[in-house]
């Protein structure tokens, strides 16, 4: 059990209670209710239909893919799928909201309760409850810095589909919140329902924070404190910072005699602080009601079945399988399954080796985690940009496995592969990097080495065992690094004994 996260206040310890509303952009070509494109980075207002611009008489028609992705996401979070849901209008005026309302789901969301398992500290797991997932429209973008008296409105994002994934207030530390968001992101990316790109705003969180006294022994329920909601925080690090800042602010406030007010706040990444957004608070009454332009959304069994059947193996299941079937350590399995691209690359590599099980699993996982990741890190590249393909990796592993390459030679060959993109067998062939098991040649080299170092031979035989490594190094050097190291060992031992 990890020791609990506590804020040390002047009057004692405080527990932090955190709930997150994560807005995840649904991966789709077209918008939720219009046929305009969703691609990031287009020229302003070029991905806007008349529906998105709320022209008089324009009507929403839902995009099946957005519904499908929300359902698949719900399934991946082991959540209840509501075959009957409906869209509601959330009414408020803002310059980024052309209709004067956001189409969302309040009363009957498409996905109900579910859960996410996160890892907190070494090997201990915790479940974070999901309250609901609903589908809604994104707003447009306001630009404030281009003109002294105008703000400009770009509606390219207006109407893009979002899933709002609402957690239960189950997290108790910034680390847990960070782990939750990372895990959620990983699952969404596995499912393919969101690209998880936080820099581009594809995932952002409203962070609800409150503090309370920790439960004393024997005390069952401590009521929640008043929470604040910090809106639109767009990185894991910022989410953690915002929680830490906000929790400490609330503790300071309470301990100095103040009270926390339920309010919307904004995170300032430059200062690492949150501040009140009073301007947006004023008179909020969203007047939700069912959108009369849209009928209830009813999902057929066949549709739900297809959603379920199309779900990939998810990170937790995959990690367990890697441990079980490939004999990987929990650590290696965790690293290889955290990101969908890594797992995909790794599995392509395994497939290309033509082998299965622990035979290849351990060697392959070690090579990916140390050699490949090391190289990619140096190159500043992601695994999907790797200059070495899974097939080439598999070939390299094969050359090690069949004794063609020693570990050292393999590293050399890999470096050449990274530079040239050539296949390892070709590199070995053309550059003569093949490991030799020619006993005669190795014995000849040993004879030379021993002759040239007669004094050290005497010392070794006199009991200085440590010198064995010296002889191995000299022999390998004489063999230009290509001798089979096991054979060198064996023959040296015999010759020196």
């Amino acid at each position: 059990m990890v020791s609990a996260y506590r804020i040390q206040g002047a009057t004692g310890e405080w527990e932090v209670v955190i709930g997150l509303e994560v807005h995840a952009q649904v991966t789709s070509k077209a918008k939720l209710f219009s046929g305009a494109a969703t691609e990031f980075g287009a020229e302003p207002n070029t991905q806007v239909s008349l529906v998105d611009a709320a022209m008089p008489g324009m009507l929403p028609v839902p995009n099946q893919e957005c519904i499908r992705q929300a359902v698949r996401t719900g399934m991946a979070l082991e959540a209840k799928i509501n075959a009957w849901s409906r869209f509601d209008r959330k009414n408020y005026f803002y310059a980024d909201l052309p209709q004067g309302y956001q189409i969302s789901q309040l009363y009957h969301p498409i996905v109900g309760e579910g859960q996410v398992e996160i890892e907190v500290g070494e090997g201990s797991a915790k479940r974070v409850g999901i309250e609901r997932i609903h589908i809604e429209q994104d707003a447009g973008k306001l630009m404030h810095d281009q003109h002294p008296s105008f703000s400009y409105v770009d509606l390219n994002r207006s109407g893009v589909a979002l899933m709002e994934i609402v957690s239960k207030p189950d997290m108790r530390s910034p680390e847990e919140a960070g782990a939750y968001v990372r895990k959620l992101r990983s699952i969404l990316r596995y499912v393919g329902s969101c690209d998880g790109n936080m820099e581009q705003g594809s995932m952002r969180a409203d962070v609800n924070v409150s503090v309370r006294r920790p439960a004393r022994d024997g005390q069952e329920v401590v009521p929640f404190g008043t929470r604040t909601e910090t809106k639109n925080v767009n990185s894991v690090r910022f989410i953690m910072q915002a929680i830490e800042y906000e929790a400490n602010r609330q503790v300071d406030l309470i301990e100095s005699g103040g009270t926390v007010v339920q309010e919307t706040r904004l995170f300032d990444p430059d200062k690492g602080e949150t501040r009140s957004l009073r301007s947006k608070e004023d008179a909020h009454d969203y007047r939700y009601f069912p959108d009369p332009d849209l009928l209830p959304l009813e999902l057929s069994d066949a549709f739900l079945e297809e959603c379920r059947a199309s779900l990939p193996e998810l990170p937790d299941a995959k990690r367990q399988r890697y441990e079980r079937e490939l004999g990987l350590s929990a650590y290696n399995a965790g690293v290889l399954t955290a990101e969908v691209e890594t797992a995909r690359w790794f599995e392509e590599l395994l497939a290309a080796t033509g082998k299965s099980g622990p035979d290849v699993g351990k060697a392959a996982s070690n090579w990916v985690i140390s050699d490949l990741f090391g190289a990619l890190n140096r190159l500043g590249k992601g695994i999907d940009e790797s200059p070495v393909s899974p097939a080439q990796g598999a070939e390299l592993l094969g050359l090690v496995a069949d004794g063609t390459l020693s570990g050292t030679l393999a590293k050399q060959v890999f470096e050449i592969m990274l530079e040239t993109g050539e296949d390892p067998a070709k590199i070995v062939e053309e550059r003569g990097l093949k490991q030799t098991s020619d006993t005669g040649a190795i014995e000849a080299a040993i004879t030379d080495v021993m002759a040239a170092n007669a004094d050290k031979v005497a010392e070794y035989r006199g009991g200085k065992d440590k010198l064995f490594g010296f002889f191995v190094g000299q022999t390998m050097k004489a063999m230009h690094g290509r001798a089979n190291p096991q054979l060198v060992n064996d023959l040296l031992r015999k010759a020196l004994s």
């Binding site: 046929g35 310059a95 306001l142 703000s151 770009d154 008179a283």
Partner: protein, 95 residues
């Protein structure tokens, strides 16, 4: 239920319609008259009745995920009171 001038001003604020003091005062009896009249619905026994969701039995159709629209910035902005640099312009918003 009935409204007073403060409520009228609040409603007008929610609806983003400027009302002068005298307009707000004039709206009080007007709205109360209407609200008093629709109040009679409270007497209807609706126990066990589901609110209407679809006027005519019909199924919500879903469209295919295809880009079929957009690329019409000029048309989108054609009727804008003020548009500059391909953007709608509004009084500066301080966030």
């Amino acid at each position: 239920m009935s409204v007073d001038t403060a409520t009228v001003r609040h409603i007008a604020r929610l609806a983003r319609i400027a009302v002068t003091e005298s307009e707000a005062e004039a709206l009080v009896p007007e709205l109360n008259n209407i609200l008093g009249w629709i109040e009679q619905l409270q007497e209807v026994d609706v126990a066990g009745v589901q609110p209407m969701t679809a006027v005519i039995p019909n199924r919500l159709r879903l469209r295919e995920d295809k880009v079929t629209d957009g690329g019409k910035r000029d048309e989108v902005l054609a009727n804008a009171p003020i548009a500059e640099h391909g953007l709608f312009a509004v009084p500066k918003v301080i966030e």
